[in-house]
């Protein structure tokens, strides 16, 4: 390469310019993302981007490290899009992370205090003019009902004598000797200071700004005792304690929670809940069984159908090419389109299936029929793939075996059952296992066809009859106004280990790892 560079100027210069430009674009893009990340306080993301940027410079600015030049993009993308989500999901499964428990403890406490600001019984409100008094950010306050003027400064509100206050045409206090009003624009820049202003009015009441020109008389209901960690609600006379699971709860009645709660780290809580909480355990076990059954039945039926067609078309036939093309069609059409069409075909009132059968069968409201529909449609979508691989595998079987068996007097059925099928299973088992793993997570077919239903909530069901683990996890995480991301993550982790284990087993059976490692 270096010889080429030295031979002509154009060969030497242009690749370098292109390389510099590509690297520059890359560096500027990444640099911009770093800037945004650090600006937003996402230091971890910013740090990772910085590491990637430095690694790219190290790898691409020198002659050596040739393998890394090719591997680096793949490694980076693998780390970002595969490893990070897995680690993040595992991490999230260790948190109580659901609707009502989404923010940090400090944020939750801030919010609890915010809900603890209770207006006085008369909803006393004030017009407010912000300014500086003796160098402090202060406020001229005019009570809206009585038009009494106050000076709020240094944490106290003092009634002003009408004679010493300048009023506007509405009678609102806008001026006082020594008081320098500030503009809204300046006040906006001081919001962090203004928002914390409190002007004591006695008896636990204080005036608090509601915007830049209005304030209200309030009390703060909550008091946190740092020593005991107890939170006291003076309005309702309730003491709350931290339950260790992300909420303050009524000390006298731990079932009564205070919201918002926070994301509490409780590594095994979601996993234990899957096993011990009857509300979660019941549907989880049913969904788990159906997921296994669905994946197994699907693979067996698809393989059987594909193999049968491959055997049938292995003979000499007229229009064989046409048949083969037709058989591939279900595989060629986007699956989501096929699923939606099948969805309509099984409609009770207007579906083609019921019209052909002449019976108003309610396919989607009966658990068994809904499962049957899913298996039928999935068979339709999947058999061409198994036809293709079975057909290829059949061609690969040595013809001598069949001939020898025939000479020994074996019938075609015996040849298939005792010679070809065992050999085919040996060849195709990794693909069958891979297909099992795929169908274990076949979200589309369930979501688009039955949406996991039917579900009879009146019978206490919380998961649909056709829900598989992936749809159940999705619904748990995002399916309703009440979301449980921690539990959904725990279910996802279990699925990950099942599918990962199957994939590893499959790869070992096919000896793929041995051949490359």
């Amino acid at each position: 390469m270096s010889k080429n560079y030295q031979r002509t100027g154009s060969v030497k210069l242009w690749p370098l310019i292109v390389k510099i430009l590509i690297m520059s674009l890359f560096a500027s893009g990444l640099g911009y993302m770093m800037y945004v990340a650090f600006l937003a306080g996402e230091n971890l993301i910013g740090g990772v981007l910085a590491v990637i940027l430095v690694a790219a410079f190290v790898v691409y600015s020198q002659k050596g490290l040739v393998p890394l030049k090719f591997l680096l993009p793949g490694i980076v993308l693998l780390a970002i899009f595969v490893v990070t989500p897995i680690l993040y999901t595992v991490l999230m499964s260790g948190f109580v992370y659901k609707t009502g428990n989404e923010i940090t403890r400090d944020q939750a406490l801030t919010q609890i205090y915010e809900t603890g600001y209770v207006p006085d019984e008369n909803y006393t409100a004030f017009y407010m003019t912000l300014g500086r008094y003796e160098g402090e950010v202060s406020a001229l306050l005019t009570e809206q009902m009585t038009m009494t003027a106050y000076l709020g400064t240094k944490g106290t509100a003092t009634v002003l004598d009408a004679a010493e206050v300048q009023l506007d045409e509405y009678g609102t206090a806008v001026g006082l000797e020594g008081f320098e009003p500030i503009s809204f624009e300046e006040a906006a820049t001081l919001e962090a200071e203004i928002i914390d202003l409190r002007f004591d009015m006695g008896e636990g009441k204080f005036i608090r700004p509601e915007s830049l020109d209005a304030a209200s008389l309030m009390i703060q209901a909550f008091t946190l005792d740092p020593a005991s960690g107890e939170l006291y609600d003076s309005v309702n006379d309730i003491t709350y304690v931290d339950n260790g699971e992300g909420n303050f709860v009524n000390k006298a009645n731990p079932e009564e929670k205070l919201f918002p709660g926070w994301r509490a780290f409780s590594p095994l809580e979601n996993y234990v809940g899957l096993v011990t909480d009857p509300v979660i355990r019941g549907p989880f076990i049913n969904v788990f069984i159906w997921t296994f059954s669905f994946a197994l039945i699907t693979v067996v039926t698809m393989f059987a159908a594909g193999l049968a067609l491959a055997i049938a078309l292995d003979k000499k036939l007229r229009f064989k090419g046409f048949y083969k093309s037709v058989l591939i069609l279900p595989y060629a059409i986007p699956s989501f389109m096929s699923i939606l069409i099948w969805n309509g075909m099984f409609n009770r009132d207007f579906g083609a299936v019921n019209q052909l059968l002449g019976a108003p069968i309610d396919w989607y409201n009966d658990p068994t029929l809904a499962k049957l529909v899913i298996l039928i449609v999935n068979l339709w979508l999947g058999f061409p793939y198994f036809y293709l691989i079975s057909s290829g595998a059949l061609q690969a079987l040595p013809g001598e075996l069949e001939e020898a068996a025939a000479i020994d007097g074996a019938s075609p059925g015996q040849i298939m059952a005792r010679i070809k099928l065992p050999l085919l299973l040996q060849i195709l088992s990794p693909l069958l296992i891979a297909s099992f793993a795929f169908n274990f997570n076949n979200f589309n077919i369930v979501y688009l066809l039955t949406n996991g239903g039917p579900i009879n909530v009146l019978a206490g069901e919380t998961a649909g009859a056709t829900d598989i683990l992936i749809t159940y996890a999705y619904k748990t995480a995002f399916g309703s106004a009440e979301q449980n991301l921690g539990l959904a993550s725990a279910i996802s982790v279990i699925m990950f280990f099942i599918v990962g284990g199957l994939s590893l087993w499959s790869l070992r059976r096919s000896k793929v790892l041995e051949s490359v490692m």
Partner: protein, 413 residues
């Protein structure tokens, strides 16, 4: 590792070029006091035309409106929002009030003016555990679109409507009675017309102890009007996939909102708007009356614009003047009483009239799942079990009521 001098030169060139490119990429320092408002694809453009770039509503702040391709996209973005890019003000359906439980929106204190102009029920619909978090922007409700091909005006009672349905069905002219376009949600006025519904609502207060779905009257009327002699649906009420039937002129009436006015008109259906008739001429079915709202998020505090955002929401969005401007831009019936009184459009007024008999839809109550499932899923299973599977009416309604009692009791604490 051995760095060649050429490598260093190249690296230096990359840094130099990247710096130049980066300088172009980096934004000018953003205005420090920008209030970011999020909205969906329908409200967003309207708000953009009204307040984007405005610096007078909340002096000292500039308002920026960002809108999403759909309500689903807005919901999804809101679910994933962080302080880094989250909004300061969120607008959308009342269900967003659920964010109060997670501490993602701030409690609001209405101004005196807002207190007097905002309906109490609207304020309650946007409250959680006794604190108000949002201001209502407009009313989301339904009305009955009576197909005038079956009579110049809607029948005065549901019994008269049922008789028309039976006659027309026998003549092969209709396939159903009343279609709840928007699923079980739109079925509520039919349930209430028959003596059922979710919770009692009197004197501007929902009553958690009054679960209506298994009332004696409702049980009797379900058997009379909705369940046929075969133990399954008479077809008088449909709630799933019946919109096309109505638009084809095959149903007497539909219950849906103003958002379907154009589609129904385009289908060539001539209709009158009004409430679903009740058991007597003086009673009406009660549809859900929901409110779209605006909330100040907890991110507004992080961004240092909480006071400005509260001023925008309470002093403009909740005000009669603000809502009339929004109504002029988007035809949504205003929630502010003073603004609603100023609206002249006949259709809007018809919806307002229908809404007057409605029941406020309290998301916190209807989304609660303490009993095992929320109101919507419970009602879906109830109607399916009674009208599709043919299960006994009384025990089905009692089972539904048992779930709802637990939900409402918990939500009302």
């Amino acid at each position: 590792m051995k760095f060649t001098s050429r490598g260093f030169k190249a690296a230096a060139a990359v840094v130099a070029t990247a710096s130049l490119l980066g300088a172009g990429l980096l934004p000018a320092q953003a205005a420090p006091k920008t209030i970011t408002v999020w909205a969906d694809e329908t409200r967003g453009p309207q708000l953009k035309s009204l307040i984007d770039g405005n610096t007078t509503i909340a002096p000292g702040y500039v308002i920026k409106v960002k809108f999403f391709a759909s309500l689903t996209a807005l919901q999804s973005a809101w679910d994933k929002a962080t302080a880094a890019g989250g909004p300061d003000v969120l607008t959308g359906p009342a269900s967003f009030n659920a964010a109060a439980k997670s501490g993602k929106v701030l409690p609001l204190l209405y101004s005196k003016v807002a207190q007097s102009e905002i309906p109490a029920a609207a304020k309650q619909a946007l409250s959680y555990k006794g604190r108000t978090y949002g201001v209502p922007l407009d009313v989301d409700t339904t009305a009955m679109y009576w197909n005038t091909a079956f009579g110049a005006s809607a029948p005065a009672t549901i019994d008269a409507m049922y008789e028309i349905y039976k006659t027309q069905k026998a003549a092969g002219k209709v396939t159903g009675g009343i279609c709840a376009f928007d699923g079980t949600w739109g079925a509520h006025p039919v349930l209430t017309a028959l003596g059922g519904g979710a919770y009692g609502f009197t004197s501007n207060n929902a009553d958690a102890n009054k679960v209506l779905i298994n009332s004696a009257a409702f049980k009797a009327n379900v058997k009379k009007y909705l369940v046929g002699s075969d133990g399954k649906s008479t077809g008088f009420l449909k709630w799933d996939g019946c919109a096309d039937e109505y638009k084809a002129g095959k149903m007497l009436a539909a219950n849906t909102g103003a958002w379907n006015l154009d589609g129904i008109t385009a289908a060539g259906i001539k209709f009158t708007l009004g409430p679903v008739p009740g058991l007597t001429a003086s009673t009406k079915g009660s549809q859900w009356v929901n409110y779209s709202g605006a909330w100040v998020t907890s991110y507004a505090r992080t961004h240092g614009v909480e006071l400005g955002a509260k001023k925008l929401v309470v002093d403009w969005m909740a005000s009669a003047a603000g809502q009339l401007q929004m109504y002029a831009a988007g035809d949504r019936p205003p929630a502010n009483k003073k603004a609603a009184a100023a609206v002249k459009n006949a259709n809007t007024k018809a919806f307002a009239t229908a809404a007057a008999t409605g029941v406020p839809q309290f998301s916190a109550w209807l989304d609660d799942k303490t009993g095992g499932s929320n109101w919507y899923d419970t009602l879906g299973s109830t109607l399916t079990n009674m009208l599709v599977k043919g299960e006994p009416v009384d025990s089905t309604l009692d089972a539904a009521a048992a779930i709802l009692k637990k939900n409402f009791a918990n939500a009302s604490k």
